[in-house]
Symmetry: C2
Subunit: 79 residues, 2 copies
């Protein structure tokens, strides 16, 4: 099954990449854009067939490698 892990900066953590995108969009004429936040998405093909175990594993991967839990939060969905 395919796990989609989305990693975003926690609320309150400054996002300079988002600010840069907002500025660039403004320069392209897209004026009515408020806040922009940027994150990562990691698609994992898991061989695990049990949905509960697959979620547990994906969350462990996110905590141990994919996200920096000090400044980032993550979310796992399956497809």
């Amino acid at each position: 099954m395919k796990a989609i892990v989305t990693v975003m900066l926690k609320d309150g953590v400054l996002d300079p990449q988002g600010k840069a995108i907002r500025h660039a969009l403004d320069g392209l004429g897209f004026a009515d854009v408020g806040e922009v936040r940027v994150g990562k998405v990691i698609e994992l093909d898991l061989l695990e067939a049990d949905p509960l175990k697959a979620r547990e594993k994906a969350e462990m991967m996110a905590r141990r490698l994919l996200a920096n839990m000090v400044i980032e939060q993550f979310d796992v969905v399956f497809r």
Copy 2:
């Protein structure tokens, strides 16, 4: 409204970052992981209230700035 733009490499385009993550997961003992693909997610706060116009604008932003249409594909959802 909040537009979530997900940008992934097109199928067939090599993803060295995904390969590196797969290798690192393997090193951490997560052996049963198949392919790993990495992409970006950009959350945009749009002031546009009309859903159709908001989608049109978000897609134009993705094509003009957020995605490199030669090697990447994108997808927009609203939340």
